[in-house]
Subunit: 345 residues, 2 copies
C-alpha cells in the first residue's frame, strides 16, 4: 500500500508516551483533546464516546494496549503478559458492536507471545501499522467508491464516517471527499439522532475542508428521496456478516428500505477489518442499547410512565445494499454471493 | 353532538377578554401561559409556535378574530368590518400548511356580514362553538379509531396530536387514549425532529394522564417495525386532499413507506375541517419550509459551506394509508375512492 499522512483533523494522536483523544462529544462547539496514559483511560474514552466510529475505536484500543505494555512491562512486572491480557479484555468490553475493536486487539496479541527485545517498541509498531493501514485503506476505498459514484448528482450520508471516525480521511465520508474532488456533487447529511453525529461531526468536518453540505432531519430522508435530489445513500459499517448483512448506526436500515422504494442505491464503505468471519448473518450481531437518558430530557427522570428504546445500531440485510466497498475491492450482488467468498479473511 | 368539557391540559383558555396560550416551546420544562388581547398577538403566537397543531391553530385564530372584533367594534370604529377583515388576513398568513386555520377563519366571517346586536358577543359564540365542536369531534374520532384498533398490540405515533394540538383530548392521540382505556396497548412516540413535539409534548401529555409511553428516535421506527412490536402507526393531519393524500409533520411519509414494507397499518385521524375541498391531490399542498436555524447549531451561522433543508411537513399518498378517521366516519380504500365522496363538505 502507498503511504498516506493523516490530513485534516485527527481523532487520535500518539505523543510518544500518551494517546491524545479528541473529545467528539464537545464538537462542534469545543475542540479539545484529552490525554491518556493507561489502557483503563482509553477504555473509558471509548465507552464514553469521546472517540467513536468503528475504525477509530479499533485504533484507539491498539494504542491502549501499547500503554498497557509500557505500564506493565517497563515497571518490571513478572506477569506483565497476563496483566496486558487483562487490559485487552477490559478494552474489549468497552463497546459491543464494532468488530474492528476486537480485530485490532487480536492484531496486538502476538506482541505477548513473540520474543521482543523491547515489547513496548514492538507494541507501538503494531499499533502504528494498524493506524497507517487504516488511513491507506480509506484512500483506496475513496478511489473505488468514487469510480462507482462518478455520475452521482446527490448523495445522502448518515452518522459520521470521516477522519473523526477513522485513522484519517474516512470510509463513507472518504468516498464522498473523493467524489467531490472529481465532481461537485450535492451532499446531504442526516442529523443522526440521538447523538447528532451528522449535525455535530459530519457537517463540521466537511465545512473544515470547504465542502458544501446540507443537513436534514433523519425523518426528512424519505421526502428528500421523493424529491429526486439524491441517487445514492453512502454509509459506513460497524460490523459486516459473511452474507453481506451490515450493522451500522441506527437509521441505516430505515434509509436502506426507503432507498429501495425510491430507486436510490445504497453503498456501504468499510475496511475488511469490519467483516466478522464468525457471523454468518446479521441476525447474530449484538446490537448495543444505550442509556435512555440519551433520548429523554432530565425532567422525565424517575417518571414511572416514561421510558425510551435506544438501540444505537440496526442491521441492514444484504439484499438492500447495492455495493460494499472495501480496500480490497467492491462486492456487488450481495444477496446472491454474500461478501465472504470475495475475501480471504 | 354530545357536549364534552375540556379535560386535562388546555393549550388555549379564553378568559372573557383575552386568550391565554400555553407556550409549548417551553414544555416539558416550564408550564407557562402567555396572554393576548389582540389579533396580532395571536398571529404572532401561531407564527412562533407557542401554539401548534392544526386544530389548535384554527381555534386560536378564531379567538384572534374575537379579539379583533372587540378591539375594532367596541372602540366605535366606523370601518370595523374592514379592520377585522385585515386582521383575518393577517391571521391567515401566520402559517401556511394547516387548512384548519383557513377553515376556522372562514367560519368566523359571517359575523361581519350578519346583523348582530353585539358583534363581539356573536363572534365569541362562533369561536366557542368551533372550540366545543373540536373537542366533541375528538371524542367521536377516539371511539371510531379505537373500534378499529381493538386488537392492536403496539402503536407508534408521531408529532403531537393530543390536547395540546387541539381543543382538548386530541386526534391521533385521542384515539390512542381511547384504545388505552379499553386495552393496555404498548405506545411508542417518535421524537419528531427538529422541534421534538413527540419527546417534549406527546410523552409529557401521556405521562400526565398516567399512560405509559416509550420514546424512540425517529430513525429507529423501521427497526422497531422489524422487531414486530407495533401493528399500527397512528398520526394526525394538517391537510387532507380530496384523493386522500395527507400532509402531516415531516417524517409521516417516511413512516408510511416503512409501514407498508413491514405489514404495519397506517391510520390518519383528523376532523373533516382538515379536508381541503380545493385540493384534488396532495401535489397541490404548499409545504412550509422553516428556518435553517431549527436544525443548525449557532456555531454554523454564517458558515458558507453549511446549510439545512427544513421542510416541516410532507405528503403521504393515499395508497399508503389504511384508514382516515374523522368525526363523521371512517374512510377506507382511499386509493380507490379518495375521501371527497364520503363527505358533503
Amino acid at each position: 500500500m502507498t503511504s498516506h499522512k493523516p490530513s485534516g483533523v485527527q481523532a487520535l494522536q500518539w505523543t510518544g508516551k500518551t494517546l491524545k483523544v479528541l473529545d467528539q462529544r464537545q464538537l462542534p462547539d469545543t475542540f479539545i483533546y484529552d490525554e491518556y496514559d493507561t489502557a483503563a483511560g482509553v477504555a473509558e474514552a471509548i465507552a464514553t464516546m469521546r472517540v467513536r466510529g468503528a475504525p477509530a475505536i479499533g485504533i484507539a484500543a491498539a494504542y491502549g494496549v501499547v500503554l498497557s505494555v509500557i505500564h506493565h512491562y517497563e515497571t518490571g512486572s513478572e506477569h506483565w503478559q497476563q496483566q496486558v491480557l487483562a487490559d485487552i479484555e477490559m478494552l474489549a468490553n468497552s463497546r459491543p458492536t464494532a468488530v474492528n475493536l476486537f480485530w485490532a486487539l487480536d492484531r496486538m496479541k502476538p506482541v505477548l507471545a513473540e520474543a521482543h527485545e523491547n515489547p513496548s517498541v514492538a507494541a507501538l509498531s503494531y499499533a502504528e501499522k494498524i493506524h497507517a493501514d487504516d488511513i491507506a485503506a480509506n484512500h483506496k476505498m475513496g478511489k473505488f467508491g468514487a469510480d462507482i459514484l462518478a455520475n452521482a448528482k446527490g448523495i445522502l450520508t448518515h452518522c459520521n464516517t470521516g477522519a473523526l471516525a477513522t485513522g484519517g480521511y474516512g470510509t463513507a465520508l472518504g468516498v464522498i471527499r473523493s467524489v467531490y474532488a472529481r465532481n461537485p456533487v450535492l451532499i446531504y447529511a442526516g442529523e443522526t439522532r440521538p447523538w447528532l453525529q451528522g449535525q455535530r461531526l459530519t457537517v463540521w468536518e466537511l465545512a473544515q475542508d470547504k465542502i458544501p453540505v446540507t443537513l436534514i432531519a433523519d425523518s426528512a430522508a424519505a421526502w428528500l428521496m421523493k424529491s429526486g435530489a439524491i441517487d445514492w445513500v453512502v454509509v459506513g459499517a460497524d460490523r459486516i456478516a459473511l452474507n453481506g448483512d451490515v450493522a451500522n448506526k441506527i437509521g441505516t436500515y430505515s434509509l436502506a428500505v426507503l432507498a429501495k422504494q425510491h430507486g436510490v442505491k445504497m453503498m456501504v464503505v468499510a475496511p475488511t477489518s469490519t467483516i466478522d468471519a464468525n457471523m454468518k448473518s446479521g441476525d447474530e450481531i449484538e446490537i448495543e442499547q444505550r442509556q435512555q437518558s440519551e433520548l429523554l430530557p432530565a425532567c422525565y427522570k424517575d417518571n414511572a410512565y416514561v421510558s425510551a428504546w435506544n438501540p444505537v445500531f440496526d442491521v441492514t440485510p444484504a439484499e438492500l445494499i447495492s455495493a460494499i466497498v472495501t480496500e480490497r475491492g467492491v462486492a456487488l450482488n450481495l444477496a446472491e454471493t454474500g461478501i465472504g467468498e470475495l475475501f480471504t479473511l
